[in-house]
């Protein structure tokens, strides 16, 4: 199971990746949309965990670009923004939509559910 984490807050995304690795999962991270696309072109990820609101490109738009490169990739959205509108849009576009801050156990559970492991 290979996970790609994408969030513009480097401290958040790098530490989340480290914690997933300590749990025996394979996790990689990116802080920009172009870095995420580049990593996806080079390696195969089973699932991407994307921040909804990032500079230049929303998580939803990034998802569409990632899907073109890796059609089988699954997606989970995370966000610190709590609008109902965002939830309604995000929930339709991804397997799960999680509010920050979250427990890592919740994320791991959702990843496993999304990949039906």
């Amino acid at each position: 199971m290979k996970i790609l984490l994408v969030d513009d807050e480097e401290k958040f995304v790098s530490r989340l990746a480290q914690r997933l690795i300590l749990r025996g999962l394979e996790a990689d991270w990116a802080t920009t949309w172009d870095e995420a696309l580049s990593k996806t072109e080079k390696g195969k990820y089973d699932i991407a965990v994307l921040d909804v609101k990032m500079p230049f490109m929303s998580g939803i738009d990034l998802k569409k670009k990632l899907e073109k490169i890796s059609p089988d990739m699954k997606f989970i959205f995370v966000t610190g923004h709590g609008s109902e509108e965002d939830y309604n849009v995000g929930s339709k576009e991804a397997a799960f939509y999680i509010m920050k801050p979250f427990k890592i156990e919740t994320l791991v559970e959702k990843i496993k559910q999304a990949l039906e492991v």
Partner: protein
């Protein structure tokens, strides 16, 4: 007049809502960083008990990072409190330097989403008599209006000057090629504040001219109704 007063109240409330959302979004991001950092510290310590090498330098760096995020959150909450107090007096003396500093802080998420830096050139205190809440609202609108049109340097410089008649706030570093005119909302807000907003496409500048003391406007009428 009643319609204007209704619009004033609605705009004021909507602005409070927008600002609360921005602040809560930033705070949630900070809480997420703190949560992951403390979780990582905890897991590294537990892993050391099963043989993983524990690097004291790494733990120290992580805990310093938590302190930085707490300071960042504290700064945001200070802004939130300053903003909340902006309605203590509907009209009053406003320090342009402080209000610009506040609005740049509040708009940080929006400017970061456009990868743009807002840089304040602080010329020291500059006081006018106006509506703090509505000046904040106008500044918020103008900043967000400018962000999509930032020049390739990705920095908007915010400066101000004053004379006996009033103050002028200038937003520089805007690529005005695609801007035809300002929106209706900015024009309406300026009118409420007896202010004028100018777009200088050649200079790449947007400026707000504010009177030393707000003149006749529906905002003043609203106060008169209450008093």
């Amino acid at each position: 007049m009643e319609k204007e007063i209704g619009k004033i109240c609605a705009e004021g409330l909507a602005f409070f809502g927008i600002t609360n959302r921005l602040i809560s979004h930033e705070l949630k991001n900070i809480l997420a960083i703190i949560s992951e950092t403390l979780g990582l510290i905890d897991e590294l310590i537990k892993s050391s008990q099963t043989g993983l090498d524990l690097k004291p330098g790494q733990l120290s760096s992580l805990s310093e990072s938590v302190i930085e995020e707490i300071e960042r959150a504290n700064s945001i909450i200070r802004n939130m409190n300053t903003f909340a107090h902006s309605v203590d007096e509907f009209m009053g003396e406003v320090d342009i330097s402080r209000i610009l500093s506040l609005m740049i802080g509040i708009c940080r998420l929006n400017s970061a989403s456009k990868n743009t830096k807002l840089r304040l050139v602080d010329n020291g205190p500059c006081v006018i008599y106006t509506s703090p809440l509505f000046l904040q609202k106008l500044l918020y609108q103008v900043i967000n209006f400018s962000l999509p049109f930032v020049s390739p340097q990705h920095e908007i410089k915010v400066s101000f000057d004053s004379d006996d008649h009033g103050a002028r706030i200038i937003f520089s570093g805007i690529s005005c090629n695609n801007i035809k005119e300002l929106n209706e909302k900015e024009a309406w807000l300026a009118k409420m504040l007896s202010a004028k907003v100018f777009l200088d496409a050649t200079a790449g500048e947007l400026s707000i001219a504010l009177p030393k003391r707000i003149g006749e406007s529906p905002l003043q009428s609203l106060i008169s109704e209450w008093q």
